[in-house]
C-alpha cells in the first residue's frame, strides 16, 4: 500500500515538473532559440522583398569587414564601455561601504535618496537638456561663473564623455551591494579590530573579498550592457557629431531596420556577439567569483 502511494507521488511530481516548465520552454524555444538559430542563417543570405532570400555564403561578413564605418563604431563602443566602467563602476561600491557606517535610520533615508531610480528615457532627455548649448543648465552655470561656454554633446572631442557622465550621479545597482554588505558578519571586523587592523586594511581584506561575487557579476552585466548600448547615444546625440558617438548597435539598427539590409545587419550582430563572448571569457578568467578568505 505504502509503496503504491510512493510510486504515485513520484509520478505526480514528474508530471508537475513538466507542466510547470512547459510554458517557459514554449517561450524560450519559440521566441528565443528559434529566432536565434535563424539569426545565424540570415547572416548568410541576401534579402529581396517578395521572393525568398538567396544564399550568398560569407559575402555579408566580407562586406562588414570592408565597411569603413564598422571599425569606427566598434572603437566608439569600446571607448564608451571603458569610459563608463572606468568612471562609474566603482562609485556605487564606495558609496555602499560608506553608507553602512551610518546609523540605521540614516541608512534607510539615504538609501532611498541615493539609489532612487529614474525612467531611463526620462533620464536621457533630462541630461540632453542640461547639455543644450543655448539654454542648458551647464552653460547657464558657466556663464554665471564667467567661464566660456562649452558645446558639450556637439563637440566631438567630449561628446562621448558627456554621454557617460550622467552615470556618475545616477545609478541603480547600489542596492545589491548594500544587500550583500549586510551579510558580512560583524565578528570579522571585531576580530580584525583586535589584531589592530586599520580602516583601509579592513576594507581591503574583509569587505571587498565579501563583495567579490557580486562585483564580478555586476561587472559582467555592465560589460554586456555597455557593449550593447543603444538608447542613450541614440537619444542624446543621434550618433553625432559626425560619427563620434555611433555605437555598434546603433549601426546595426540603421542597417537592419532603416536600410533593411537584413543580411549585413545580422552579420554585424554576430560579430558583436563574438566580441562580447571574448570579453566574457576574459572577465571570467581573470575575475573569479569565489571568496578566498
Amino acid at each position: 500500500m505504502k509503496k503504491v502511494e510512493k510510486v504515485k507521488r513520484a509520478k505526480h511530481k514528474k508530471r508537475a515538473a513538466w507542466i510547470f516548465s512547459l510554458p517557459a520552454l514554449f517561450f524560450v524555444i519559440v521566441f528565443g532559440w528559434y529566432p536565434l538559430v535563424l539569426g545565424f542563417r540570415v547572416s548568410l543570405e541576401e534579402y529581396h522583398f517578395i521572393t525568398p532570400p538567396t544564399y550568398i555564403g560569407l559575402a555579408n561578413f566580407r562586406e562588414i569587414f570592408s565597411d569603413p564605418l564598422v571599425p569606427i563604431t566598434f572603437r566608439n563602443t569600446f571607448y564608451y564601455t571603458a569610459l563608463s566602467i572606468g568612471l562609474t563602476f566603482i562609485i556605487p561600491i564606495i558609496i555602499s561601504i560608506l553608507l553602512m557606517e551610518m546609523k540605521k535610520n540614516t541608512i534607510r533615508i539615504m538609501m532611498l535618496l541615493w539609489f532612487i531610480p529614474m525612467a531611463s528615457m526620462a533620464g536621457n532627455i533630462i541630461w540632453k537638456w542640461f547639455y543644450n548649448s543655448y539654454y542648458g543648465l551647464f552653460n547657464t552655470i558657466l556663464v554665471y561663473l564667467g567661464f566660456p561656454t562649452l558645446r558639450w554633446l556637439d563637440d566631438p572631442r567630449i561628446a562621448m564623455l558627456c554621454l557617460v557622465l550622467p552615470g556618475l550621479i545616477m545609478f541603480g545597482p547600489g542596492l545589491m551591494y548594500i544587500a550583500s554588505l549586510q551579510s558580512v558578519p560583524n565578528e570579522f571586523y571585531e576580530a580584525a579590530e583586535l589584531e589592530g587592523a586599520r580602516l583601509g586594511q579592513k576594507i581591503w581584506h574583509i569587505t571587498l573579498p565579501r563583495l567579490r561575487p557580486i562585483i564580478s557579476m555586476l561587472l559582467l552585466l555592465a560589460i554586456i550592457g555597455n557593449m550593447q548600448i543603444f538608447e542613450r547615444p541614440y537619444v542624446m546625440t543621434g550618433g553625432g557629431p559626425g560619427m563620434a558617438t555611433t555605437t555598434v548597435v546603433m549601426y546595426f539598427y540603421q542597417l537592419s531596420f532603416q536600410s533593411l539590409i537584413f543580411g549585413k545587419g545580422a552579420s554585424l550582430a554576430i560579430i558583436l556577439f563574438c566580441v562580447i563572448l571574448a570579453l566574457i571569457i576574459i572577465q571570467r578568467k581573470y575575475f573569479k567569483e569565489n571568496i578566498d578568505v
Binding site: K14, V42, T106, A119, I125, N132, Y135, V143, F273
Partner: protein, 332 residues
Amino acid sequence: MPLISQVGRNHFKVRFLLGAITTLLWIGVSLHLFPVWWTFSTSITPYKEIYKIPPALFPRGATLACYKLIFTMFSGSVTITQPFWVYIKNSGIMTGAIMAIQIPVTALAAYALSKLHDPKWSRLLFLVLVGIALVPYQVSMIPLYFLLRDFPFATGYVPKIPFTPIPFPHYNFINTYWAVILPGGYAAFNLLLFKGFFDGIPDELINAARIDGASEIGIFRRIIIPLSKPVFAVVAYMTFSSSWNQFLWPLIVLKKEKLMPIAVGLYRFQEEVNELANVIVPSDEGLLKRMAQGYSWNGVMAMSLIQSIPVFIMFIIFREQLMKGIKLRGFK
C-alpha cells in the same frame, strides 16, 4: 556600523572621520537629487523664461500648464497626435501583461528545475533556459521581427502551400501590443534569481507537505510563494522597470502612434521640440501659441517626470523586500 568600531566612536579622530563621511554622503545626495529638482522646476516654469539668452538660473513664475499635455492634444504637430495619457495607457497595458505572464512562467519553471526535475533533466533544461541569455539579443532581433510579422514563419517570407499559389496561413503581430508582450513572456535572468532563492528552501518542507497530501501546485502556492516574497519583489521590480523602460523593440515593431509606449512617445516629442528650439522666431504667433500649450522643453520635462513617477513608486514599495531578496548566485 561594522567598519568603524563602536568602542572608539568618541575619539576625536574617529568622530572627525564619521563627520566627513556623513557630509560627503549628503553632498552626494544633493548632487543626485539636483537633476530631479531642476527637472521639476523647469517643468513648472513658463516657456518664455526657458528660452531666454542667457537663461535665468532662478526663473520667475510658475505654471502647471505643461501637465495639461497628459489630457489634451497638440495642435499642429506631425509626430505627436495623441494626448499623453494614450502613451501612458499603452505602457501600462504592455508592462502589466509582461509582468502577468513573465513572473508566473519564470517562477514555475525555476521551481520545477530546483525541486521537481531529476538532476539530469534539470541540468539540461537549465542550459536550454539560461543559455539563451549569453547571446546578445541583436542576433535574434531580425528573425524575431519576421516571426512576429508572419507567425509562425521566421524566415522572412511565407512559403506557399505545395502546388498552389496560396501562402500558408500566418498571423501578423506587428503593430499590436502582442509584438512587445510575447518576446517578454520569459526572462532568463529572472530564472537565475528565482532558482538561486528556491535552491535555498529545504526539501523537507516540501516533502512534509507532500506526505500531508498537498498537490504540487498547492505546495507552490501555499509554501513556496509565502517563503519567497523577497525574490518575487525583486523580480517584480526588475520586470516592471525593464518593460516600462523598453525602447528599441517597441520602436521597431510599433509603427502606429496609438500603440506606442511612453518611452517612444517621449523620444518623438523631445526630437520635435529640439528641432523647434533651434529655430525660434519670437514673432511667429502660431509657434508661440503652441509653445504656451507646453510644446517646449518645459513640456518635455513635465512628461519626463510623469514617466519616472511609476518607477519611483515601485522602488519605494519594494525597497524593503529588495534588500532582503537580492542574492545573486551568478552563472554557475
